[in-house]
Symmetry: C2
Subunit: 206 residues, 2 copies
């Protein structure tokens, strides 16, 4: 994903191919939010920002890492998604086949819920970093804090539906409950992201 051009990756996303799909898009949304957090922190160094420069350099370094993690999760998502397809494609001639296939499908579905859960965790951290930039970041780029929060919120919402479409087929109640708890956590981060956008907009209205 990282080495694809934006034009060709988005064209592939729009085609009838299993990947890239919504999982890759969620990762891209998170990576975009991470970059914007990095940009705002980069504009809050030197001169009158000397008092917070150390913090801002730390935010920049962390945002670079979060961006890389998000992009790596796109690949993990594609692999996990392929494993689900492979499991559904297993033979079902005998009862033994069928039982093995069911087990394989369940394992693959559990695996496929992990990358979106991770994208959600990355996006949650981006929201936390953006939150600290609304008041402390360079006000010339405060609109970019809101764009970061909006991108992260979209990544979170995407992660949630990507988890929920798997949960619908997962039979292990404990695993399903664990994933539902993750969804609840991610929902809290969406609310926080929306609060950031509101605060930025109030500031712009003066």
């Amino acid at each position: 994903m990282k080495d694809s051009t934006i034009g060709s990756w988005l064209a592939e996303l729009g085609d009838r191919t299993p990947t890239p799909g919504g999982g890759g898009a969620a990762a891209l949304l998170a990576a975009t939010g991470a970059s914007l957090v990095g940009m705002v922190s980069s504009y809050t160094t030197g001169g009158k920002w000397a008092d917070r420069e150390a913090d801002m350099l730390a935010v920049k370094a962390e945002s670079d890492l979060l961006r890389e993690q998000a992009l790596a999760l796109a690949a993990a998502d594609a692999e996990a998604f392929a494993a689900v397809g492979a499991a559904y494609g297993l033979p079902r001639a005998t009862d033994e086949d069928k039982a093995a296939r069911r087990t394989a499908i369940q394992a693959a579905l559990r695996g496929a819920a992990q990358p979106p859960a991770e994208v959600g965790r990355v996006a949650t951290r981006i929201v936390e970093l953006a939150d600290g930039l609304v008041e402390r970041g360079n006000p010339n780029v405060v609109s970019d804090v809101a764009v970061a929060a909006s991108s992260a919120a979209a990544a979170l919402e995407s992660a949630i539906v990507n988890i929920e479409i798997n949960v619908a087929s997962i039979k292990d109640a404990e695993v399903a409950d664990g994933l539902r708890a993750t969804v609840t956590e991610l929902t809290g981060a969406i609310e926080r992201a929306r609060g950031i956008v509101e605060r930025v907009r109030e500031g712009l209205r003066g």
Copy 2:
């Protein structure tokens, strides 16, 4: 933008450079939403979808166009943003200079509000197309309809803050009111996008 790799574009977005910035990110969010609408329509052709194939091919063609428009708007945004910087850089030695500079800044700010307004219009259309796919699209990819709507909502929210940061400096009341009216329209499209995500999630919960 289209020919940059995803990795290098996002790294530049995160750097202390005027562009790409929040305007380019908004365009990328809209383009991502357009691609996902295209993907869902591509999965709703042939076989049991024969009854709606013509509609879906039209959605696919329009989504391809919207994606290209969004990507082109990233370039328009960067140009308009550069023009604002150039206007602020004009000489202000004499009163005449100052007056000319003020006029140039105001013209550049009005120009800079146009690409985000256009990104907002593209994203609004993506939301309309996604809305039609919640019930009519292939249910195997219904989560991607929600990801499309989330991406478009983030593009809309980003367009809004990008407009509002300009409106704060625009002195022509009529122009400012026109832009505020655009913001109100785009806000309506965000609500619609959130409704799409809710409907998809209700469907997944069964």
